[in-house]
Symmetry: C2
Subunit: 136 residues, 2 copies
Amino acid sequence: MKPKGFVRRTRQREVILEVLRGTKSHPTADWVYQEVRKEMPQVSLGTIYRNLKTLSEHGEIQELAFGSTHSRFDANKDMHYHFVCEQCGMIEDLDIPPVEGLDDQVEQLGFKVTSHRLEFYGSCPKCAEESMGKAN
Amino acid sequence: MKPKGFVRRTRQREVILEVLRGTKSHPTADWVYQEVRKEMPQVSLGTIYRNLKTLSEHGEIQELAFGSTHSRFDANKDMHYHFVCEQCGMIEDLDIPPVEGLDDQVEQLGFKVTSHRLEFYGSCPKCAEESMGKAN
DNA sequence: ATAAATGCAAAGCATTTGCAACCAT
DNA sequence: ATGGTTGCAAATGCTTTGCATTTAT
């Protein structure tokens, strides 16, 4: 007997995952849509959304809800932190090690922790430099 | 000469801030709306949104975008972290000290850091216990 | 007096969903 | 053959906005 809710391997799903794995830009659903369209002009936005949801439910990608209205997606499954530039909007992976013992600290308060998420806000190197230049 | 963009003190704004300060529940805009309506039945949702925006721009409150589509708001201005229960959806302030030196670490990578945000995901004490009981 | 703020209703816009056709298994 | 998946379009639902009016200063 086949498992209920079995996930099929479709061309759309493949391309979406490919696109996501081929960028470090933490794209929005619409950006993914535009990219996938280059290879499958007939693909629909609904399919993009359905697949992004499926993929993140199955742990293939990560959904990131930052301050803005729309979600962004990340195919990097390793634990890592993000930096959000408040000037240019760019989101970058940070190359710093996961903080040790953080989850334990919270578990001692009675919570069962499955993950944590850490984001930094400010100006990226480029924008910070530009502000300097303008002597703003 | 009065400053441009001066912020007036209105009854609506006062009540909204009052409501926000009177709860620890990180409410949504709509929840705030319902509460404010109890005192000002004629208030409009637009006013709630405009004020929440103004208030957070002026640092009176904090806007929190969690995984879901809609924002939540927090009148607690002190640096603190949050726990999001993936079972009941509850969001709770965490009583753990801010991690030292985190911002410095990121600044050394060339970023200018103004703040960071840390959230834990999992089960709150209540939900965790219930899962145990069900021997799930 | 003057511009900020409000209420109301009409957009806006990202995301979701119903449905018939389609296709991976 | 079966039911997960798709494209399409309509629908949701949170949030924003235009505008005439009110109101804080």
